[in-house]
Structure formats: structure tokens, C-alpha cells
């Protein structure tokens, strides 16, 4: 065994596929939060990392919630995926780091997730940007006329 290649690589599935049985209680929590959203307009969110979830739990949750109409990607220092599930008002939000690892994952029960909305401060910045762009455009236009 003179080189690294001499060491055999055996690929094994070391992850025990098991369930903590946490999918069902979670779905009931979503039900309560959705009910609350309709009644009071108050949004809710569940941090998927706060619960011990194993592969089976995860698959079950995904299967029951299903795929919905909206799929959005936010690009803010790494991508964030925002998808509405087949249950309207229930969103699956996954934040990725710039190296594509998952930073955080939430089920949000809301009409529109916060991350999709534009912050007033950003909007102001946008307005400033727009104005400065308009300014330079009109200057350019003027310049062209001048020229």
C-alpha cells in the first residue's frame, strides 16, 4: 500500500433511516397557525431545525404539504428558496449560504413571506437609485441633444 490509491474506499450508507415521529405533531401545529392567520391575520413560523427531524419525518412532511404555485429565489449573499406549498398560506423557506449549505429552514404561515417583501429602507434606497439613474439618463439625453 504505497499510495493513497492503495486504500480501498468502501461506500456505505451510514445514516440510519428512521423517524422521530415528529411530522404529524408539526402538521397539527401548522393547522393551528393557519387557522390563526385566517382569524387574526397574525403570521406564524416554525423553525425546522428546532426539532429533531430524521429523513423519514422530513419526507413525510414534504409529501403531505406538497408543491404549490409559487417558487421564488432570493439572491442575498447566497440563495434563498421560497416556495408556497400546495396548502395555500403555508410557505417553505430555505436559506442557503453562498457555499450552498443550508443555513436555516422555516415553515412560514403567512400571506407573503417577509423575505419577499421590499424593506422601506431598501425602497427608499431604490428611489434614490432610480432618481440618480434618471438624472444621469437625462443628462446623457441632454448631452446627446447637445451633441
Amino acid at each position: 500500500m504505497n499510495s493513497l490509491k492503495g486504500i480501498p474506499i468502501i461506500k456505505l450508507d451510514a445514516t440510519p433511516v428512521m423517524s422521530h415521529g415528529n411530522a404529524l405533531p408539526l402538521l397539527h401545529e401548522i393547522e393551528v397557525l393557519l387557522d390563526q392567520l385566517i382569524a387574526t391575520g397574525k403570521s406564524g413560523a416554525i423553525d425546522l431545525r428546532s426539532l429533531p427531524m430524521l429523513a423519514d419525518d422530513y419526507e413525510k412532511l414534504k409529501e403531505i404539504l406538497g408543491e404549490g404555485e409559487v417558487k421564488a429565489t432570493v439572491d442575498a449573499m447566497g440563495p434563498s428558496q421560497v416556495r408556497e406549498t400546495a396548502i395555500h398560506g403555508v410557505w417553505w423557506v430555505t436559506h442557503f449560504n453562498s457555499d450552498a449549505t443550508v443555513l436555516a429552514e422555516f415553515i412560514e404561515i403567512t400571506y407573503i413571506p417577509e423575505i419577499l417583501q421590499t424593506h422601506p429602507a431598501d425602497a427608499r434606497m431604490g428611489l434614490e437609485n432610480l432618481r440618480s439613474r434618471l438624472m444621469s439618463t437625462s443628462q446623457v439625453d441632454k448631452g446627446e441633444t447637445d451633441v
Partner: protein, 366 residues
Amino acid sequence: MSDDKTLAETLAQRGISRRSFLKFCASIASLMAMPPAMAVEMAEKLAAARRQSVVYLSFQECTGCLESLTRSHSPKLEDLIFDAISLDYQETLVACAGHFAEHILKEAIEKNDGKFILMVDGSIPLKDGGIYSTIAGRTNLDILEWVAPHAAAVIAVGSCAAFGGIPKANPNPTGAVAVSDIIKDKPIINVPGCPPIPVVITGVIAHYLTMGTIPDLDELGRPKVFFGDSIHDRCYRRPFYDQGKFAKSFDDEGARNGWCLFELGCKGPTTHNACATTKWNGGVSFPIESGHGCLGCSEPDFWDAGSFYTALSAPTKDVANWAAIGVAAGAAIGVAAGIANRSTKTETKRTRKPLTVDDLKGKPKS
């Protein structure tokens, strides 16, 4: 290096939107087990915060902690925190050297007196007047006692600063102690680990910036959110422990099947840290996932807690020989006690008068 602009204003100039703040705070909130709804509020506060001055002192250490904190392959979201702080002094990173560097430290302390966060890595040697680690002719103890009173809070980074770490390992030749053994009147947040998980440090600073407070600490001064659970509690191999399926050696069937490493000396059950959830190297893995038991590096005196390869249920010291000594000593004392018993009997037999029929006639003498 400080300015009056808010963080949001500074970063906006670099095209970083408020969505990044929200995303950052959402991931910090998730990391620190705060309610997801807090993320929005935290984002607002962080955006409105001024840059935080940080002074970073290194004592008896190996620079592994700093490596852990600064080494990343690509800029990541958590690096946002470096934009949120102003690292006013760090010996290894500071551009200048000698008197200039010392001057910068002095200036940083004076400028943000009572407001800066002091980060310390490495332990402080006390033996022989602390001469075993000095910087610019001053002992570590001297420097710490000078700087710490001016700080708002202290973060002890790594097991050496938090608990004394490897320099303190038996026989502790330099008389190394932890920061908390010296500084008693400042809030100290211990972030132990050898090295500590970088995102934990990020989280602590973010917490301070957004909430203005330090997080809840356990009895060892560690943030509960990261050190509340044991590695064992969050280990993906836990089901095997519960089933009693253990790897018996590093290359047996059990090891290949990813069974529990308890019998190979894993200290996961007694080690409190977030490795099993945050993982290392950008979430690639953590020691147990790589097939090796946890060493327990975020616990005090982990270096002296018995062999890394001795199961937790096994003694850390030699018991069998002591048991043998006990048996030998017990045999010796027991024989002596037996001889004493025999002499009690012999003596009694010799002195007692045998009962006669006349004794039955008389009245008992009291």
C-alpha cells in the same frame, strides 16, 4: 476605526440589501433557538446598530481558535458579522508591529473605554510571576488586568481561555488558569472548544449587537443555546446507542455500519457543544460523522479526563490494581481481626466459670 453611520447605511453602499440582514438574523435566530418571529426585530436592530469595537488578545494559545474563526473558503453570510464589528486590535492580524502595535492597543482601549468587547484566546500562566508568556515584556496577567476593566464584556474564545485548556493539563507546568479565574467583575462568555465553532462566536456577537445583552449562560459560563444539549442528545447515531448497537473497534462491522462509538471512548454523552447540529467545514461533517468519537474538547480539563479511547462507563484510573491491593490489605487486616476474635474467645473461655448445678439454685447476681 469607527464611524457614525449605521450598519445598514454602511453596507447598503456595498449593495447589501435589508434582505441579507433578515436572512442573517433568521439564521442566527434559528441557530440560537430563538422564535423565528424575532428575526425581523433583530434585523431592524442590527441595521440600526453602530459598528462594535472589538479588542482581541492572545495569550498561551496555538492560534487555532483564530484560524477557526477566520478561515473560510468563500465569503459567507456569517461573515457579515465582520462587517458589523471593528476589530481594533488583534496581534496576529494587525498590520504593524512592535511599538506601533502596542500603541494601537492603547488607543483602542481609550477610544472605546467601557464599550468594546474583549475577546481572549489562550490561558494565562501564573506560576513564577507569570513569566512563561509575555508580550512586549509584560506578562499575560498584567495585560489582561490592564485591558479587562475597560471592556464592556469578555468573550473567552476556546477551551484555553475558558477553562485553562491544554496548557492547564496535568501537571500544568506554567500554572495556567482561565480568564474567569482572574476577571471577576465583568460578564464573561465562555465559548470553549478546541477549536470553538466559529458560528457560535458570530452568534454571541450578533446577540450582543441586536439585543444589547449577552445570551443566557450555563453554570460553566457557556451560552445555553449552543451548549445546552450534549453531543449525544443531538447525535445522528443516537438510535444505535438506544438499541445497544456499538462499534467495538474502528474497523469492525459495527464501525462500518455507523453504529454508536460509545465503547470506543466517545465523550458525546458528557460533552456539551453544537457540533452535531452546526457541524464543521461548512456543514460537511463532525468528528462522530467522520467515524471518530467525540473527545469532549468543550468541557473543562478534557485533556485529563482519561483516555480518549476509554468508554465513559470505564474508570479513568487504574482500579483493578487498587482492588488487588484492597484484597491484600483486607486479607492482612482480616487475619489480624480474626486473630483478635480468637483471642477474645480463648480469653473468655479461660476466665469464665463453667455453670454448675448450684448456680441454678441461687438468685442471679446483677
